[in-house]
Symmetry: C2
Subunit: 401 residues, 2 copies
């Protein structure tokens, strides 16, 4: 049995970052950048009005006030998207819209709210300082600047930034193809009828969804039976993917069969017990570049160790450096007990109370009780040496969403 | 100008929850449940072994110890997925695997680790209590119980729960179809060449991505020019969707044209200025059941007011009650100033320092500086009456991801 940190280190030491592919900008959301993106233009590309109003020489407005407005001659009207070749000289002004290029000669913009239009003229009611209400070229982005480093997760802001830079597409990491095989003679596919002793296969649905959320491309290869030939066939199929997850078949009694089959399929085992609760009987192995995870059959154990080990592996294949989840401080609502020396992942719901959160543990923390994962907004993680945390204490909750 | 809370109330008062549709379970991730899901079976469906080991009558093991093991006769072997009709009587045991039905007569399971196999027999080294290592029928879910209420977001745990209940598909809310129209003569589609005074349209890409993340179905209708006919045609097209977002065309100078066109298209305006910074020039109107939002042309203003007003509208159309974002406590790294009476959304990055977070404001908070959204993990929200917050203070950051 090894510690979770050590297990994760072993997994990550085997990961290779996947090759890139080019995708349309509109399909890039949620992907990971595979190149450093530099700006090949200034943004804004020109000095421009930051407000609707009048481009002026600021000095002209020095004496302007509500009572004694300054009157300037309007020599042009520039909507956004247009520009004027006219030059603003003393006594002149150009009507200008937000985003339009500042005409030559002008050094400030008077907001339209501080003006009154007249036939061919404008009354200015307030003085402006030089550079007031002007956005200067390169104020947001400077040409040549590194804007988005490789490994960035592409969120709406990154999509917008790529568009601002004129990019039609983005170079992103290919998604790891992840095969999911459920094992067990007790498993039945949803939609069929259960016989005595049987249950529906739910782990492969959970894992499918977890792979999707982690940025991978999941494939359900179906249910393998506890027979050598059947299991071997599925495992061999799964080894053609970049990552293979076996669900179930890792408890003491099953393990011999699975271990045998994996050995026969050429998988080199690297660990098979991890000091976490739930999720102890979890194994990891490699065959060529394929990562092979064996997750416990218990639904909570399977989901928890996916989060602990498989998700970081997928992030790492995508070249993302940071898979840490946000931690939120909360007040523990019920005393929790560790019940053992393993690191424990307690499922809690966050409930807002004023400007604080309460962390409410799921009523049953048994690894067979899937309801605890439906309940959970996150995990309260108890280190192995901590035996209990009293209710009322402030704790840190690792968010699942 | 109205307060944000009032604006949101007006928006939400106009929302109708969308009709449901049935989707395959594997496509249900991220959707919203449109029905209460009750369990039509117990889970587990039968009393079962929670560990690999031997099903016994617990009383038989009372005297068992490492030194003086109890020896029982093994009368059957039950893997998961199978069951036995044999009845466990005193002096007998059944070899059993995790998940297999507990045979009649037995009331506990001895873990395999506490046993030693012998020819036809088993040595028991440790006493078990009644019910030890047994999961009882209905322990996770009771038949008839409300398991997932209408309006639940379907996460991996909900997908797994639906599978456990044997559901092949889920009744979810249809996604709101959202039309996005960028307006402005200065806008150019990515991939083309910029002329003087022009910029790339980025807002529609940001909005497209934000709609996707909020659970809507976005459609980019392209760029409308600042000409009445062109704008009217796009708006009319957009009004056939359930939600229409106009980006730009809301500043003082443009507004007359847009307001005219909207009136002509039959849109009833409900507000058009909100006391937030960035994002003041934001309007909202209705035509029949279509919600119409006019967001500012500045990229940050557009993104921020999408989050403030459009995202809650989409969540609400999906029948979700809760669109509040998680708030994280952090230590403010730099003093921030409000610069006005409007509620201010300051873009901050969260940086971990020990077990705390630092909130680091983006260097420029100008609404034209998209880099501040790329920088941001979340918003530090300054109420209108707060003029500044000193660095070193604890603040609450609303998370964007």
């Amino acid at each position: 049995m090894i510690e979770l940190e050590e297990a994760l280190e072993i997994v990550l030491s085997q990961v290779k970052v996947l090759p890139p592919e080019r995708v349309n900008l509109l399909s890039s959301l949620g992907r990971t950048l595979a190149e450093d993106v530099y700006a090949d233009l200034d943004i804004p590309g020109f000095d421009r009005a930051a407000m609707d109003g009048y481009a002026v020489i600021s000095k002209d407005t020095d004496s302007a006030s509500r009572k004694k407005p300054v009157v300037l001659e309007v020599i042009a009207d520039v909507p956004a998207g247009y520009s004027t070749k006219k030059v603003v000289k003393s006594g002149k002004a150009v009507r200008i819209m937000t985003g339009a290029p500042l005409p030559r000669g002008a050094d400030a913009v008077v907001m339209v709210e501080d003006t009154e239009k007249q036939e061919g003229k404008v009354k200015i009611f307030r003085r402006v300082n030089p550079e007031e209400n002007v956005s200067f070229a390169g104020e947001d982005v400077k040409k040549g600047e590194l804007i988005l480093p490789q490994g960035s997760l592409i969120r709406p802001a990154e999509v917008a930034m790529l568009a601002t830079l004129g990019k039609k597409n983005a170079l992103v990491r290919t998604k790891p193809k992840v095969a999911i095989v459920s094992t067990g003679d007790e498993l039945v596919e949803v939609g069929k009828t259960l016989e005595k002793g049987e249950i529906y296969d739910s782990n492969s649905f959970a894992l499918f969804s977890q792979v999707l959320l982690s940025g991978g491309e999941p494939y359900r290869l179906g249910i393998a039976r506890d027979k050598k030939e059947n299991l071997l066939a599925r495992i061999k199929e799964g080894l053609s993917y970049q990552l293979l997850i076996l669900s179930g078949g890792v408890s003491v009694g099953d393990y011999d069969l699975v271990a045998d089959v994996l050995r026969e399929a050429g998988v080199k085992m690297m660990f098979w017990k991890v000091a976490v609760k739930p999720g102890k009987p979890t194994f990891f192995g490699m065959r060529k570049d394929t990562l092979v995870f064996g997750l416990p059959g218990y639904p909570v154990s399977s989901m928890v160790n996916f989060e602990n080990l498989v998700r970081p592996a997928i992030f790492s294949m995508l070249g993302q450096r940071d898979w840490q989840r946000i931690r939120v401080k909360a007040i523990l609502k019920e005393t929790v007990l560790s019940g053992g020396k393993r690191k424990k992942f307690i499922r809690v719901k966050l409930v807002k109370e004023g400007d604080k959160y309460l962390a409410v543990p799921a009523p049953s923390q048994h690894s067979g009780v899937l309801k605890s994962m439906v309940w959970a907004d996150g995990f309260l993680i108890l280190p192995g040496e901590v035996e209990r945390i009293e209710k009322g204490k402030e704790v840190s909750v690792e968010l699942l969403r």
